[in-house]
Symmetry: C2
Subunit: 396 residues, 2 copies
Amino acid sequence: MRRMTARPANAHQARLLKLLRDGGPNSRAQLGDQVDLSRSKLAVEVDRLLETGLVVADGLAASRGGRRSHNVRLNPHLRFLGVDIGATSVDVAVTNAELEILGHINQPMDVREGPVAVFEQVLSMAAKLRASGLAEGFDGAGIGVPGPVRFPEGVPVAPPIMPGWDGFPVREALSQDLGCPVMVDNDVNLMALGEQHAGVARTVADFLCVKIGTGIGCGIVVGGQVYRGTTGSAGDIGHIQAVPDGRPCACGNRGCLEAHFSGAALARDAVEAAQQGRSAELAARLETHGALTAADVAAAAAAGDATCLDLIREGGSRTGQVIAGLVSFFNPGLVVIGGGVTGLGHTLLAAIRTQVYRQSLPLATGNLPIVLGELGPTAGVIGAARLISDHLFSPA
Amino acid sequence: MRRMTARPANAHQARLLKLLRDGGPNSRAQLGDQVDLSRSKLAVEVDRLLETGLVVADGLAASRGGRRSHNVRLNPHLRFLGVDIGATSVDVAVTNAELEILGHINQPMDVREGPVAVFEQVLSMAAKLRASGLAEGFDGAGIGVPGPVRFPEGVPVAPPIMPGWDGFPVREALSQDLGCPVMVDNDVNLMALGEQHAGVARTVADFLCVKIGTGIGCGIVVGGQVYRGTTGSAGDIGHIQAVPDGRPCACGNRGCLEAHFSGAALARDAVEAAQQGRSAELAARLETHGALTAADVAAAAAAGDATCLDLIREGGSRTGQVIAGLVSFFNPGLVVIGGGVTGLGHTLLAAIRTQVYRQSLPLATGNLPIVLGELGPTAGVIGAARLISDHLFSPA
DNA sequence: GCCTCTTTGTCCTGGGAGTGGAGAAAGTTG
DNA sequence: CAACTTTCTCCACTCCCAGGACAAAGAGGC
């Protein structure tokens, strides 16, 4: 099938496409209620969208008390690819134009193997999804990488945990390989976009999305838009000092948040606790698996292991301390906690909340929900699809 | 004189007004180079602005190689009032429509005397400026207060250092008294606006403006727009924890930045040093004045007093630590340091820079200037004038 | 089944806004 | 003084679009 290459010709069409994306099939009349256009003008724009093929007719709507309206919807053959490259695994998903996930694969993968190896795997995962009949091709792809990105060009810049990716033309390369438009962003920003589109942050204009995985990052949304900073490194909170003269960090400083609490740090702490005999549960798991991860700590904590609960509480407290500072500074309307470590659940959340509500001023915390992300591992890929759809559904 | 009450009728006119405000008198042809309008359309819009009286003819421009063009400029009789209410003093200034300061008064005043007493003084200062022939009336006023503001309504909310101001309808009241439109904002935001309009931040889209005065606050500019947060308390960094288990703070916590370094904290430290005999210079000054302020510390430091230099270095270091966190998070293109304590000058700046450059990652600090504000005490009043002009030069 | 009312969709016309050309006015340069 | 530039005004033509009229399609009451 020939892929759609059309783009909206003007802001009105872009608006309509986004309404159809976010609200699903809609009648012309309903669309008319949401945009400020005369019936004639609306009809013209919808007709033009039908001509481009981006939008198709979709039968009759239910009556609202009179003549039934003709529904329109985004072309059901449109497919977006959402890719979320983490430090230790890759998520690839296919969505339709309404950003519903049709298929989703996760595979372990070390990002340090470099862009060539990673993309080979991503492409084979995409091919597998295509082969399973979910898509005949892709109309666009969004991709998230675990490091700062020069956004307009779609190129990673000086990513600490991705040696070999610095300056690699991700957007360009993937666009060639997939034969469709591609947008690249930081994985944390995509998680924020995902939670904004389909998760807990749907109605909030200004919020923070803290992702605790192998590292720690923070997506910043200002006025509904992702804020990326001057060089694309905004939200890089893993290296904020959480403990004066604390543990040495890979970045060369001491006491960075990431050195004290993150997937990697937690695993280290768990191994130490097991070896020192502070936790029978962890020792047993270390014995069986040969290694420990945050998931082991979560399981042990769920089983009531005191040492693990302490580890989580302490980490949550450190994280909460940093978030408290950010809340004072940024005064968000919502804080979302996500990433691999969310398996630690409410113990973690409680520790974070305690610290934030204690340290920040009432005016900032008064009506501030601090919640876990709703979407889990799909937040990233949904955000990726959202990123490319925002791009494609904007006037060229 | 009857005041101007006209507002631009559309975005084009608003654009033109702002060009004339920021660029001074301009010919039609020059304006045409800067906006994307046909000659006819431009002429129509300029004519309409002339009709409203907001804009007046201003003679002939220099030739650019052909027929000389007719200049237009903002009505030279337009007057804005800029008011900057600090914790311990008030600045009031008159500007023309191009936001040039025509007259500026500063008077000591304790904000804790409450809104009624403060406004009485502000009005008398405004009257004095008017009486000196600088203005026959005001077309708009901007006012900054040292605490969070619910911006749309222009009402302070839960301001810690301004008991008695909570919920006081500042905008409404002042608008009545002055008989002109009024906008209210946090003083730090206005400083940021001022530095953006006429100071060091003219060309930067995303920057932070840290004001160290009696308290500590931070103006946040995102994409050229001041960011105020969900409840108007964004930038309230004075109560971020800088020292774990540090000094008790008025807010109830310990170790807040403001408790360790601010005009007030510095004065306290200075008195203590004088009494403990650690600084002969300060002791002498305490003897003569009966009290010490940040200015005394600055003077003593300039004279080479080691204790004072240490105080400044330590405070700068604490501040730098907090700013380092903000830089990692926000990735600004510029950090401006301003407020009363800037008298401490380069000793302070050096301490801050050292800490930020050491603690934040290279990608964020690589090209990050950290500089003192250019405008000093006029930043606030210029920002105030800018605030109201932005409001009045927008379509109604 | 029929009549009336409501909603939706299409067509058409009148008005208004804006583009861009023609040409006059005002200056510069050699 | 002639040729070229720039600015400004005027005007005709185009394009867009709002909103009314009307047709189509359905709901509901009797």
